[in-house]
């Protein structure tokens, strides 16, 4: 009926009305369909992001577990290969036949056993220090980093220096340890892979941000390399750095210096995060 009315000659109003209504209806249905499909698309996108984040977290977790296991194996090897034989040797010197030996041999055996026990004590102290550096615990991050850099410089293979510009208030001890481990890992990487002749570390603050910057003149990596290594199965140390910094809500940037001569690594932490963590505790 409506169609007949529309197709009758001379009814331009009817034509506009008919097609206008059809057009509006089509637009409305199109709008609703668009909203429903758009929402589904957004959900899929968000899910993909969530999955990627989960995969990344899984990689970090695996890296952290592997590192923990490696550390345990190292401690076990140190104890088994070094402390074990030393103590066994000391036991040999102090065996049951000792009482039957002459006085001079007895004294020699006791002296040897004492010397071996001293070595064992030193060895265990070294293991303990590698787990928790006493300088860091007692004197803070600045002293521990200076100590570490002095040892590197003392070895003669590389010139290492550090300078803390604004570290009057110490961070929480747990956070200092995390930052120290990150610095250790970075320095270790530089020593192993970069072939650099110097490392220079600076610390400063800007507003509520805390920065640590490392410069070296060897071969380094850029942010793109870091991101790629973080997503791959290699680069365990870098994943460890990332997972440690995640605890502090910190960021790390790898870049080449403006002069294209040096590589620069910047660790950025928000001091408010530190305060919040303190409040939570």
């Amino acid at each position: 009926m409506i169609l007949l009315e529309v197709t009758s000659p001379g009814s331009s109003v009817s034509l506009v009305l008919f097609f206008g209504t059809i057009g509006m209806l089509a637009l409305t249905i199109g709008l609703i369909v668009f909203i429903i499909f758009h929402q589904r698309k957004v959900i899929r996108y968000q899910l993909r992001l969530q999955r990627m984040e989960q995969d990344q977290q899984k990689l970090l977790l695996n890296a952290s577990i592997r590192l923990q296991e490696e550390e345990r194996q190292r401690i076990a090897a140190d104890l088994h290969d070094d402390a074990g034989p030393l103590l066994a040797t000391a036991r040999l010197y102090l065996n049951e036949n000792l009482v039957n030996l002459d006085k001079t041999t007895q004294l020699q055996s006791i002296y040897n056993a004492k010397s071996i026990i001293d070595d064992t004590i030193q060895l265990i102290r070294n293991i303990s220090h590698s787990l928790m550096p006493p300088t860091l615990k007692n004197f803070g991050l600045e002293s521990a980093v200076n100590d570490l850099f002095q040892k590197i410089s003392g070895s003669g293979s590389m010139n290492a220096s550090s300078r803390f510009h604004d570290y009057r208030e110490r961070l929480q001890s747990e956070n200092e340890l995390i930052i120290f481990r990150v610095i250790q890992e970075l320095v270790n990487n530089i020593l192993k892979h970069s072939n650099a002749s110097f490392i220079h570390l600076t610390q400063n603050t800007s507003g509520n941000k805390f920065f640590i910057r490392l410069h070296h003149d060897g071969r380094g990596i850029t942010q793109n390399d870091f991101n790629k290594l973080n997503k791959s199965n290699v680069g365990l140390g870098l994943k460890n750095i990332q997972s440690r910094l995640k605890v502090l809500h910190g960021k790390i940037f790898f870049e080449k210096d403006m002069s294209q001569t040096y590589y620069k690594v910047t660790i950025e932490l928000v001091k408010e995060e530190e305060d919040k963590l303190q409040e939570q505790e």
């Binding site: 109003v13 409305t28 909203i35 929402q39 959900i43």
Partner: protein, 219 residues
């Protein structure tokens, strides 16, 4: 037959509202119930009136009432403050147009074309505000699990479909008017069905549930 079905289809959402009162207590659905009641009564009174000028004034009053109730419902459903503000500006604009239309009188027609057209345009815009808000709200996963969505969909479909009819209603001949009014009847029935769907629906958590469950549903 169609006009009769159209008038009595208005009873359907009212029955569902009363039957499932607990589901519809919150969210301003009483506004839609009130609208259905007023619409049903007006349609019945409409048939009894013989004087054309009375019909015009009845139509005009109903348009104002209809616009007020639908706008109130959308206003209550909106969260975005600028949208709420624009809705209030729209109300003022509509009241000015409706008052001018009322003061000018019927002019021999029974339908208040100007105010009904303004009402349609404004309600389409308000409905788009609501849909846009749902589209940009990250907590809304499935918009069609929202009861409000079905009400707004009914409003949008009805006024989009009848917009051109309302614009041209004053210029149509009686024969054309009777022929084309079936568009209004068809979409009025559809509107009442969608209101019934909204009243029938349970308040679902699926509209706002987690992404994991959304993914499971999508598989």
């Amino acid at each position: 037959m169609l006009p009769l079905i159209s008038v009595f289809s208005g009873v359907l959402p009212m029955i569902f509202y009363v039957c499932f009162l607990n589901r519809n207590k919150q969210g301003g659905f009483w506004v839609i119930f009130l609208y259905c009641l007023i619409s049903f009564l007006t349609d019945n009174v409409h048939h009894e009136l013989r004087d054309r000028s009375y019909v015009f004034y009845l139509n005009s009053s109903f348009t104002i009432c209809e616009f007020g109730l639908f706008t109130l419902f959308i206003y209550l459903s909106l969260k975005n403050k600028p949208f709420k503000f624009f809705t209030l500006i729209g109300v003022v604009l509509f009241l000015v147009i409706a008052l001018i239309n009322l003061l000018n009188g019927s002019g021999g027609t029974i339908f208040d074309s100007l105010s009904a057209s303004a009402e349609s345009i404004l309600l389409i815009i308000f409905s788009i505000f609501f849909l846009y808000e749902q589209l940009t709200d990250p907590t809304v996963i499935y918009v069609y699990y929202l009861k409000n969505f079905w009400v707004v969909l009914a409003i949008l479909l009805y006024f989009a479909s009848t917009l051109f009819l309302f614009i041209y209603a004053a210029t149509l001949t009686k024969q054309e008017y009777n022929n084309y009014w079936s568009i209004n009847n068809v979409f009025n029935i559809l509107k009442n069905i969608l209101f019934s769907v909204a009243f029938l629906m349970k308040k679902s958590d699926k509209a706002h549930h987690s992404l994991d469950t959304a993914y499971a549903d999508m598989q």
